[in-house]
Amino acid sequence: SGAVWARGLLSWARPERWLASGSLFPLSCIHTSTSLQKIGKWEKKNRIVYPPQLPGEPRRPAEIYHCRREIKYSNDKMWYLAKLIKGMSIDQALAQLEFSDKKGAKVIKEVLLEAQEMAVRKHNVEFKSNLHIAESQTGRGRYVKRMRCHGKGMFGMMKINRCHYFVKLVEGPPPPPEPPRTGFEQAKEYVQQLRNRTLVHTL
């Protein structure tokens, strides 16, 4: 009776029961967890395929998504480098990173070079300098808490920070920077707001 009970308990675990009776999937198709674990969303963005463009449409610029995960660097510190890079052409970005003293600069430079290589080989980009950085972001990686020993038997808990870095390269020259808002423009907007006012709850 124990064996029957065990068999009954494990019967729900048999995968054939989950599949619809009309499906033709063999058991070998079921995903098992590999060393790759989860493929992140940013990596999947390279897989989208657009329908062919119509003859009259302007050419859609190539977009290349690349990232590196679990970099041993702080998220906050990496953010400053990502902010520096945003909106630059790839050559300018590589120049700035080469002479930056930060640890993350070396990592980001490697990521950009890899992305440039990918663009030329796989994404049909003609000139490797004709790329600009449309988006560059950081994310927080898995933190680990560890003990940091001080004197007199005291200790504190420290976090070992890791981060991810995401970059999107787009073909074409970098877009011109937005001109700063002048006082005249702000005044014009204010006057326009005043003119837009209407009378409510009236005839």
Binding site: D76, Y80, L81, K83, L84, A95, Q96, E98, F99, K102
Partner: protein, 185 residues
């Protein structure tokens, strides 16, 4: 006012005793918020037992830790949590962002990037490597420490002969073509 309070922690008890002693001696005028007669009829509150002066001295001499803790009470500490908006304003202020460098040029020799006031990294590495190989040749010739000759040294590459100017000098042979950046004489 005369009710005994048995606090479990001896340092707390000593602290309360000392504070009470200060109150008694009028050394804390600001405590009652500036009332006219702090010792007039007032609400009876539980307080520590009045002790003679002897225990005060004993309390003070028993340890320095209570006096340190007295100082701790009036240390500066943040009163409210800084919100993420305030934190972001501080962290993302333009003065804290990395400035873009405008002193980057192209090296005319090798074409790599270099800063204007710094030697080109690639060219420097090239020269350093060649110097290392020359030094290895010198080491082979000398065969040990403290054997450096008194005369000058000249480095000759493949197919070069020593000239009249290199009469008394030590010659180091390098088995390669002369590099373009190593000008002879």
């Amino acid at each position: 006012v005369l009710v005994l309070v048995r606090s479990p922690l001896p340092w707390l008890r000593a602290l309360l005793q000392r504070s009470w002693g200060r109150l008694e001696r009028g050394l804390w005028p600001g405590v009652f918020g500036g009332q006219s007669s702090p010792w007039g009829p007032a609400l009876a509150v539980q307080g520590p037992a009045l002790v003679p002066q002897g225990i005060n001295d004993a309390g003070e001499s028993s340890g320095e830790a209570p006096s340190l803790l007295e100082g701790v009470v009036w240390m500066a500490a943040p009163k409210h949590r800084r919100t993420i908006e305030v934190n972001r304003c501080r962290r993302r202020n333009p003065s804290k962002l990395i400035e873009i460098k405008r002193n980057i040029d192209v090296c005319p020799e090798c074409g790599n990037l270099k800063q204007k006031h710094v030697l080109c990294g690639y060219c420097y590495a090239k020269v350093k490597e060649e110097t290392r190989l020359i030094r290895m040749e010198i080491q082979k010739k000398e065969g040990g420490p403290f054997n450096a000759p008194v005369v000058e040294t000249v480095v000759l590459y493949e197919g070069e002969k020593p000239t009249e100017k290199d009469e008394g000098k030590r010659i180091i042979e390098r088995a390669r073509k002369r590099p373009s950046w190593f000008v002879q004489n």
